[in-house]
């Protein structure tokens, strides 16, 4: 009887001492957290680096407030933000959002309207790239996020491949027809593909010619717009390109896509200006000097992503003013905008820094071309399109129907009619 009874308290004492060792550590951490004010910023890769780089400036502004960056991978970050907003727990003081999510989150009421005190973004409206500001503006006139950087669209092309094929750069951009014709010649003379995937061409063309105020897929009354001339044209040009086998049929960011850039089997690509940095840093650094940039064909202007900063409505009220200080530092401060531009190729959303001589500098990767001037021009001309709740779904339906047209020879009118039916079914969900 006595033996186990003796043993038990001993073991319990051991357990208790273990707990005792653990507890003060936890208590200490909590105490230090309370002593210093903390502003938390949730971000995804590259924005996290941009924010981290702002630490010294933040310390000068607010020596008493620690800036804490919570970084997650791109998809995880946005899923985590959705969950945090839906439950209103573990909300950061500031959340970074990628452009496509800004439109999506603007459908709900989870983000603060930055035109209302303590924020006053409306006063700075003219200082932002117009489309970026509009993109964050809801139909009710609320501005739910401040643009940090933008992705002006550009056409990149290989000068060596063009020279070999006897194609002039203007042939690529004069019209979409001349772009296709140039592609045929390039393929015949050099064997190189014109572009990675025709879906990229469709993505630009279906935007061209939208009426002001029209969304990409829906009008303001949620009527579906996919059975319209701009989609017909987008599908036709894409089909033409595929019929001449001018695209390599590779998806973006796949191995085959990256290899195409390295080996020079892709003559052109259409993407955000930031692609130049990606090519230079890791995709195809050896092709330095062989690339040039231009505007998109037929002077189309399109945006490829961009990062915004938003404040959750249910975040700690005592940190709202600090959050606005932080957002202003990231979005309205030349120094920060240029730091991000130089280190991460994040094109500034702040228009009033566009007069800086930095834009006139030649880019070695583009053979000394002053391409930033082009992108600056594009940034001013891109127009925002209202985002609908079902835009992501519509996007996928259209991509799939184009695949049907390209792979199975489905007639374009039927493809667009099918897409319209599928999208209309959930237009009001």
């Amino acid at each position: 009887m006595t033996h186990p009874a003796d043993g038990l308290p001993a073991r319990r004492a051991l357990l208790a001492s273990g707990l005792a060792a653990l507890l003060p550590a936890g208590a200490r951490a909590q105490a230090s957290g309370q002593a210093r004010k903390v502003l938390t910023v949730a971000a995804f890769p590259l924005v996290d680096k941009i924010v981290e780089a702002a630490q010294p400036q933040w310390r000068r502004l607010h020596p008493d407030v620690e800036l804490k960056v919570l970084s997650r991978p791109y998809a995880d970050h946005h899923t985590a933000m959705t969950t945090a907003l839906s439950t209103a727990v573990y909300l950061p003081d500031v959340m970074a959002l990628e452009q496509s999510y800004v439109g999506r989150f603007a459908q709900g009421t989870g983000l603060d309207d930055l035109t209302r005190p303590p924020f006053d973004i409306a006063r700075h409206r003219a200082r932002f790239a117009p489309y970026a500001y509009d993109q964050a503006t809801t139909r009710r006139g609320a501005v739910v996020a401040a643009p940090g950087d933008i992705g002006p669209g550009t056409l990149l092309y290989r000068t060596d491949v063009l020279a070999k094929a006897g194609v002039q750069p203007e042939d690529l951009t004069r019209s979409w027809d001349s772009y296709v014709a140039a592609g045929i010649q390039i393929k015949r003379k050099t064997g190189a593909f014109l572009i990675g995937n025709v879906q990229a061409v469709k993505n630009i063309l279906m935007r061209s010619g939208a009426k002001p105020g029209e969304g990409l897929y829906f009008d303001k009354d949620s009527r579906v717009l996919v059975n319209t001339p701009r989609f017909v044209r987008a599908f036709e040009v894409a089909r033409q390109l595929r019929q001449h086998q001018l695209d390599a049929r590779v998806g973006e960011w796949t191995n085959d896509w990256a290899e195409g850039f390295k080996r020079g089997t892709l003559a052109t690509e259409m993407s955000g200006a930031w692609l130049v940095g990606q090519l230079n840093n890791w995709v195809a650094p050896d092709t330095k000097g062989l690339w040039r940039a231009s505007q998109l064909p037929e002077n189309a202007y399109a945006a490829y992503g961009g990062a915004f900063y938003a404040v959750p409505r249910h975040s700690a009220p005592e940190n709202k003013a600090l959050a606005w200080d932080f957002i202003q530092m990231m979005t309205l401060d030349r120094e920060r905008q240029f730091a991000a531009f130089k280190s991460q190729d994040a094109f500034p959303a702040l228009v009033d820094c566009y007069d800086d001589p930095f834009f006139d500098e030649p880019l070695p990767f583009l053979g000394g071309q002053k391409a930033r001037l082009l992108w600056r021009e594009a940034a001013r001309r891109i127009t925002a399109m209202p985002v609908h709740k079902q835009s992501t779904f519509a996007d996928e339906v259209i991509t799939t129907e184009l695949d049907h047209v390209l792979d199975r020879g489905k007639p374009i009118p039927q493809a667009l009619a099918d897409a319209e039916r599928l999208i209309a079914r959930r237009a009001f969900r």
Binding site: R12, R249, H404, R429
Partner: protein, 302 residues
């Protein structure tokens, strides 16, 4: 003396305290999500507006799900994959297990380990490996086929080849698991049965069909049941291999992938919840049908 007595658990409560960690975890990660999704299935909800934004919509979500072309498409994909991965798994695993059981003595564990390895390998690693193997221009599969004059196939970007490619990966991954199941069952078959059969002049093939296979029936029932339940819930492999989208023409967008996308890509948590319950009904129905097909109750007790 008072303190130790305070800390002592009364025998009445001890069992509950000891199982409480499981119950707590099960409650938080099992029961709660289950009930919450059931509740959500009857709501429409813009998640970023917070919990207060839910609105009751009755059976709307179920009506939407049942009339949704993509939901049926995803169910067809799921059934296709479940059959294309499930049937070969068992047709190969049973003879393979018998082969390993009879032919390997010392190397047996090594063999089983080799087949079991894919099962415990991270899905992400598997997806990365197979996406480079199946790469059109630079992949090993096409290089191999090229030796026989086959033109490069775009395995992962065409609906027609993506499905079999994913099925092959899942088959490869779970074959070892089934082999282990059948090996365990084989060890329980008494040797005397085979000895008696040999005395009666039965060949190895006759022994396989008249002794081994009938004796394996309970395990086949169990294995098939697991394959059906697992097959209808296929998610990881197609999800990671197609960047969470389901591939060209949504060819490998299984129901599980689709309802995840409904919630997190298309922002429709209510519809996604309704679909998940419909999927549950399908799984339950298939399990019941399997149960009927095998008549486990009439099985002679061994």
């Amino acid at each position: 003396m008072a303190r130790p007595r305070m800390l002592r658990l009364s025998p009445r409560w001890a069992p509950y305290v000891f199982i409480s960690p499981f119950l707590l975890l099960f409650g938080v990660f099992g029961v709660f999500p289950l009930l919450f999704s059931l509740y959500l299935a009857f709501q429409t909800w813009e998640p970023t507006s917070g919990l207060g934004a839910m609105q009751f919509v009755g059976l709307d979500n179920f009506a939407f799900a049942l009339g949704d072309e993509w939901f049926w498409k995803s169910l067809k994909n799921t059934l296709w994959l479940a059959v294309a991965t499930g049937v070969p798994q068992h047709l190969v695993a049973i003879p393979l297990a018998v082969f390993i059981h009879t032919s390997f003595k010392k190397l047996r564990d090594g063999m089983v380990g080799a087949y079991f390895l894919p099962y415990i390998t991270s899905t992400v690693a598997i997806a990365i490996m197979f996406s480079s193997l199946f790469s059109r221009d630079y992949g090993l599969v096409n290089t191999g086929l090229g030796l026989f004059g086959v033109a490069p196939i775009d395995w992962l970007n065409q609906p027609g080849t993506l499905k079999p490619a994913v099925a092959l990966i899942i088959f490869w991954r779970y074959l070892g698991f089934n082999v282990v199941l059948y090996l365990a069952a084989l060890q329980t078959i008494p040797k005397d049965l085979y000895e008696a059969a040999t005395m009666d002049g039965a060949g190895r093939l006759q022994q396989f069909f008249h002794i081994t296979l009938p004796s394996l029936k309970p395990m086949i029932y169990f294995g098939v049941m697991l394959s059906i339940i697992g097959g209808l819930q296929i998610f990881e492999e197609p999800f990671i291999l197609t960047n969470g989208k389901g591939g060209s023409d949504q060819a490998v967008m299984t129901s599980a992938v689709y309802l995840y996308r409904m919630a997190f890509d298309f922002n429709d948590f209510g519809g996604a919840s309704a679909m998940s319950w419909i999927l549950f009904a399908v799984v339950a129905l298939m399990t019941w049908l399997t149960n009927r097909a095998f008549h486990p109750k009439k099985r002679p007790a061994r």
